[in-house]
Symmetry: C2
Subunit: 307 residues, 2 copies
Amino acid sequence: MSLTVTGTIGIDTVFTPDGQHRENVLGGSCTYFAAAASFYAPVRMVAVVGDDFPPDFRRTIARFAGVDTAGLEVRRGSKTFRWGGRYQPDMDHRDTLYTELNVLTEAPPPVPDAYRDSRFVFLANTHPAVQIGLLDQFPGRRLAVADTMDLWIDTARAELELLLTRVDGLVLNFDEAERFTGLRNTVAAGRRLLDFGPRFVVVKKGEHGAILVHRDGIAALPAYPAERVVDPTGAGDSFAGGMMGFLASSRDTEEPTAFDAVRRAMAHGTVIASFTIEAFSLDRLASLTRSEVDARFSEYQRMLRLH
Amino acid sequence: MSLTVTGTIGIDTVFTPDGQHRENVLGGSCTYFAAAASFYAPVRMVAVVGDDFPPDFRRTIARFAGVDTAGLEVRRGSKTFRWGGRYQPDMDHRDTLYTELNVLTEAPPPVPDAYRDSRFVFLANTHPAVQIGLLDQFPGRRLAVADTMDLWIDTARAELELLLTRVDGLVLNFDEAERFTGLRNTVAAGRRLLDFGPRFVVVKKGEHGAILVHRDGIAALPAYPAERVVDPTGAGDSFAGGMMGFLASSRDTEEPTAFDAVRRAMAHGTVIASFTIEAFSLDRLASLTRSEVDARFSEYQRMLRLH
């Protein structure tokens, strides 16, 4: 069924602990999400870039079969969002070197009329008031999930709490869950977040996997044990893309907010994210084949099989 | 089949982040290991305490059905090992308040003749030269696994490397694996450790689960997602106890060092450890029933089932 992602497209500069770096490569939450989701279901992008956005990057995005870029606005006279970061040795934390919001400070991109019937909506991280405005443009949605970040927890808490009354699910990082709730224990923090409205919360823990706190149960899944991590950028968005793409590909009779549906979808997100981190930018996803995804998913299944 | 654990029995004082503490309670690696293993297989203890060891503590240990305390030496004129610690808010790190080695600085306890035929041997953390001396007293062993800690990595590296040529498996914490190898990535660190000799390395990550790095494969398992952690003391030893107890309970025809055997055994260790942390000292294991263990294991299985 139809899946739309709203989020950022950016030009990233990334330094990794092993001394490598890449300057001005394709990034952004929407980009990683859509590329990852495309392995499971067609996906529509709502995002805006400036007229400095390299045509090559647009071609890279469009090369993912099933990614609909009709909602990718190129705004004249505006500049694309840019981000630079340096990962700490543990790869799970990073320092931001610079953030040039540019076009992200302007009006959000319009949602194409043809996207309004989307059944699955993922609101990647941005100001929660903007997320609410976008959400309202999907009246036929069946499952809406939002991501957020520490900045909005600190500066737009009221709007974030309002957003939580409107979505089915929330995806956020481990330290953000603690920051929002003041609770260090991930399960306890997730339960507290459920009190604000969503049916489920997915807490991402990077190399340590993810925890699902759902009204109907709790589950923890490990990350795929990667031996070599080149660049963790986009892992969380790829995870969300794989998760939502899998849910959108499920049969219409299945309830996409059900505990077991979300839990299984997280496993697919885990596997897709494990490829993203094997190279800079979208490089690994761009070369990834369906059979590679299937093979790694089978391996992940076997790794967790206890029967 | 017969399982022996060598390790410490101690008197602990523990402060937890939620303001609770317990003074002078039963602890020690051997204690937690044996109590946990006893849910799967009979277990023999080799340990030494001083004559200050409270008879009540000995009764607590003996109350675990299947724990053989014939190898628990009470040494006249000596004092029992004592440890005090305070957990940091993340519960995965702790500061040692004091360590009174006492009897641990004297000769190690003798291995009873009746234990020499043990097929499964777990060498809980102590000086690696002592671990080697103990190991030599089990000529009929089929599976030998050792634990270690940062102190020996820093101060007895040569002996530790020698130990690794003699055991089938090594169990250690995440930060210790990094300290030993200089490699931050857990899988890479595990592989490096395999170069020293063992068939497998189990890297414990506390609330984030454990990773198996085996000559025949890699596996990650999450911790059971606990909502309330009272006292993490003994979680790692309980994990090892459940793991080794399960392996010792397997059919004689199964190869206990096989990748899949160790992986499945780790799941049992995970489940047993999840009970240990629900209360101070051995309190939760002392009240634990087989049906509670089975119910939680079934839940853990379902949580990871992706078929």
